[in-house]
């Protein structure tokens, strides 16, 4: 059984991403959407946690949400991959279930 984890909250504001990382099995697909894409910014107080997360999991960030917030897909934390909605659908289909950390 594999699970896609989506997270939609900024890690600076709310505990959703922290809890996701505590409870996702190693090697999970984790997709940052909406305000959670801020977690992909380098040099933040949350960056060390994200660098570690990107080593343990496959971390993605939704590109339309990155663009809306003025974040450059080429300047994300290493290992975080920008994806479009087609890929979001593909991740939801290839995993056995989807958990939304709100």
């Amino acid at each position: 059984m594999s699970m896609l984890h989506t997270v939609n909250k900024s890690p600076f504001e709310k505990n959703s991403l922290r809890t996701c990382l505590r409870l996702a099995r190693p090697g999970s697909d984790i997709l940052l959407i909406q305000d959670a894409v801020y977690a992909a910014l380098p040099d933040t107080e949350f960056a060390a946690g994200m660098i570690e997360a990107a080593r343990q999991h496959n971390v993605y960030a939704l590109e339309p949400d990155l663009m809306a917030r003025g974040l450059d897909r080429d300047k994300l934390i290493e290992g975080v991959e920008a994806v479009d909605y087609d890929r979001f659908v593909e991740l939801a289909a290839t995993n056995d279930s989807v958990q939304s950390w709100l």
Binding site: M1, M3, T19, R25, S97, Q99, S100, W101, L102
Partner: protein, 135 residues
């Protein structure tokens, strides 16, 4: 799709400040009629949903917390509470409602529904679900 599926209600929000806990419980009670393999997880502020002694009378809000006690009758008997979430909030199992169920295969003995699990155990349980709901 005739097979029984594993449903989990993942409860992460505190009660009363928002309606998610209350309307989430309504889903679980309705869903119980569908004979799936149902469990619940209480994580983060979700552990406060089953804190004992809730009394909303002075807020004029509906006190839905007694409805938790009905879960056992609805065959929802596995309530996983994350140990780390409890500890971070200074709580232990005695601060929670004494939720139980009657085991009809064991002379209707009343058994506790709440199971304290650590993050690692809970992460495995979550990973094994077919469908998860979030409240």
């Amino acid at each position: 799709m005739g097979a029984i599926r594993k449903f989990m209600y993942i409860n992460r929000t505190a009660p009363h400040g928002s309606i998610y806990a209350q309307e989430g419980l309504e889903v679980a009670l309705i869903g119980a009629a569908f004979d799936q393999d149902v469990s619940m997880a209480f994580i983060d502020d979700g552990v406060f949903q089953i804190k004992s002694g809730q009394d909303t009378s002075a807020t004029d809000m509906k006190n839905f917390s007694p409805a938790w006690r009905a879960l056992g009758d609805y065959d929802i008997t596995r309530l996983y509470v994350e140990k780390e979430s409890l500890e971070a909030r200074g709580l232990n199992v005695d601060d929670l409602m004494p939720l139980t169920w009657e085991d009809e295969d064991d002379d209707y003995i009343e058994k506790p529904s709440i199971r304290i699990v650590n993050s690692d155990e809970l992460s495995k349980i979550i990973a094994g679900q077919d469908v998860v709901f979030n409240y």
